[in-house]
């Protein structure tokens, strides 16, 4: 498995590199370290979201409500900041994680206790959460002038030459990596995705594991709620509208199997980064904006076809000579 997966991620990394090289041929400035770091920073939020989505997809579920969760948490934190500028930012961030996790837990409870298919639950909460953004804000936007300077500036600061936003992504990636590979809960995500029946026989509580995956995705969406709002300095009903499918696309490109049980942290990160590079490169090389959508659609399809190739079980081989070959 390792061999196979490693090549998959390697291919993806090569693909990203190829795009960078191609763009650089036309615009040498594109691959300057500064610009590449900017792309990484720009993609940070998508990377974190993709990791949360991956946890959910691993358990044979899907969370279509992540973008709405992000918008709702973002609006809550923005309004809180506007109303009480004195509340320290770390406290606000912790609040975001808690609120996001609670929204995720709402999805999770419905999946766990009522056994409603995740796609149905999150299709419902996708609209409910976003509707709530409107309800709590009355439709009004919270703009830069209403936010406190700390609120806006925190993620723009730098540490060791890297913006704080990028550090958020790095830390989240590390934590998710440890969770996925080193804890029973993380392995349970994989187990119930690979074979839910067997997971029950192994003593894994399938419902509760899915619940945990949703809580994780929700917590990450909540964190990203703050990061998104302070990055684009506007909180509105339409924040991250339609982004739910972009997050899924990042996972898919990164080799996370929609059927569950297959996917790695590195893959999801690279999948997000790939979309980030493509989205960043197109305007830079002056591709007509009207071509962008078709190009990212094609990129998704190509990735899906390639992943489908490598995911196909080669089956077992009976003939000796075929085995030797």
């Amino acid at each position: 498995m390792n061999r196979l997966l490693k090549t998959r991620e390697l291919w993806l990394a090569l693909g990203i590199l190829a795009v960078i090289v191609l763009v650089t041929l036309r615009f040498p400035r594109f691959s300057q370290p500064g610009n590449l770091l900017t792309i990484f920073n720009d993609t940070s939020i998508l990377m974190m979201l993709a990791l949360g989505q991956m946890a959910v997809i691993l358990t044979r579920s899907i969370d279509l409500s992540m973008a709405s969760n992000l918008a709702l948490t973002g609006m809550i934190v923005a309004m809180t900041n506007a109303a009480f500028p004195g509340v320290p930012i770390p406290l606000l961030i912790a609040g975001c994680v808690v609120v996001g996790a609670a929204l995720g837990a709402f999805n999770g409870i419905l999946v766990w206790k009522l056994d409603i298919p995740p796609i149905v639950v999150t299709l419902g909460t996708l609209t409910i959460f976003r509707g709530l953004v409107f309800v709590i804000s009355g439709g009004a936007w919270v703009n830069a002038a209403q936010m406190s300077p700390d609120f806006i500036q925190l993620q723009r600061g730098a540490f060791l030459g890297l913006p704080i936003l990028s550090w958020f992504a790095i830390v989240v990636a590390l934590l998710v990596y440890l969770l996925m590979t080193r804890t029973a809960a993380g392995r349970a995500f994989y187990a119930i995705g690979v074979n839910p029946t067997a997971a029950v026989y192994t003593g894994i509580n399938v419902g509760r594991t899915k619940f945990l995956a949703f809580v994780l995705a929700g917590a990450i969406a909540g964190l990203c709620g703050y990061l998104w709002i302070s990055r684009y300095v506007i909180a509105s009903v339409e924040v991250a509208g339609g982004y739910e499918l972009t997050i899924v696309a990042a996972c898919v490109i990164g080799g996370v199997s929609i059927a569950g049980g297959i996917g790695t942290v590195a893959g999801a990160l690279l999948g997000a980064l790939f979309l980030g590079v493509v989205n960043n490169a197109l305007p830079v090389i002056g591709v007509s904006p009207f071509w962008q959508m078709a190009i990212s659609g094609t990129a998704i399809l190509v990735a899906v076809v390639l992943n489908g190739r490598s995911e196909r079980t080669k089956g077992r081989i009976i003939l000796k000579k075929a085995e030797a070959a």
């Binding site: 615009f27 936007w141 002038a145 009903v237 924040v239 509208g241 989205n279 960043n280």
Partner: protein, 307 residues
């Protein structure tokens, strides 16, 4: 009791510009008296969603609809139906084709807006240089008209301004941010970004601030003072312009009420619009209000408190 019911339909709810317009409309309704104002619109700025809103207004048998349209053509059939059912229809801000409405109220003259947005950039570029436009959706009627007008005016009036690109941020802050970044990366000599849309201009100014390009790249365009004040303050932008949305909503209600009261909309007809004065219809039954108003360091503080 015979109240006149006027619906003010906007592109999307929650947009500060339209909220300000609604404030003006409310004011006009109060002044005229006996008017029930319905302020409504979709939450996503699409034509289909707006059609559903208009459908429900037809069912409610309102007396007049004043709409800022998401699409000049797609709304025509449903607005024609409204007119068939005896509802007066005017468009304001972003218009619909003449078949779909009696009057269109332009916030300002299209040519004038086109010229203003270029002038805002040129004023701070005595030597000239590269500028780019960051627009709203590629389908936005008014933005497209302004950009056309701007392009037309460059060669004769601003010969040393070089418009290098027009990109579309879809009035989405993320897309606008990405497009602004793209412009800066692709055109190292870019001197100004012109964003004739309130979402785009904020996004562009934030990008310029974040990338420490204040003083190198000037952001300008059309902006709500309340949302844009800090970027004038921090120098990311020298000046922006906008008409008064309050007056726009105010006038729309006056026009709608006049139609309901039986005044005919025909080329050359003159309508009184309360304290704003009066407007005269041109041969497409359109009327234009005042020239866009310019905001800079000297006055932004004051206007940001109003809208």
């Amino acid at each position: 009791f015979a109240q006149t019911r006027i619906a003010l339909v906007v592109k999307s709810l929650g947009n500060g510009f339209f909220d300000a317009a609604a404030k003006g409309a409310e004011e006009a309704a109060k002044e005229i008296g006996d008017i029930e104002l319905i302020y409504t619109g979709p939450t996503t700025a699409t034509a289909e969603a707006q059609i559903e809103v208009v459908n429900s207004l037809i069912a409610q048998q309102v007396d007049a609809i004043a709409i800022s349209a998401n699409d000049p053509d797609a709304l025509v059939p449903v607005l024609q139906r409204a007119q068939q059912r005896g509802i007066k229809v005017i468009s304001w801000d972003s218009g619909v084709a003449p078949e779909g409405r009696s009057i269109h109220l332009n916030p300002s003259d299209i040519g004038l807006i086109g010229e203003t947005i270029i002038k805002l950039a040129a004023d701070y570029l005595p030597e000239g240089g590269d500028v780019a436009i960051l627009s709203a959706a590629s389908t936005a009627t008014n933005q497209n008209a302004w950009i056309e007008a701007a392009k037309a005016v460059i060669p004769e009036k601003f010969p040393n301004i070089n418009l290098v690109a027009t990109v579309y941020g879809d009035d989405d802050s993320v897309k606008s941010t990405e497009e602004a970044r793209g412009l800066i990366a692709a055109y190292p000599d870019l001197k100004a970004i012109i964003a004739p849309t309130t979402v785009g201009v904020v996004a562009a100014a934030q990008v310029v601030t974040d990338q420490n390009l204040i003083g190198k790249v000037n952001v300008t365009g059309l902006a709500l003072p309340s949302e844009f004040k800090q970027f004038i303050d921090n120098g990311a932008s020298q000046a922006v312009a906008l008409w008064n949305p309050i007056d726009l909503g105010y006038s729309a209600v006056y026009l709608a009420k006049a139609l309901v009261d039986g005044q005919e909309a025909a080329p050359g007809a003159t309508f009184s619009i309360g304290k704003v004065g009066e407007v005269t219809l041109d041969d497409t039954n359109s009327a234009a209000m005042a020239a866009p108003f310019q905001f800079d360091k000297s006055n932004i503080e004051e206007f940001s408190k109003i809208y």
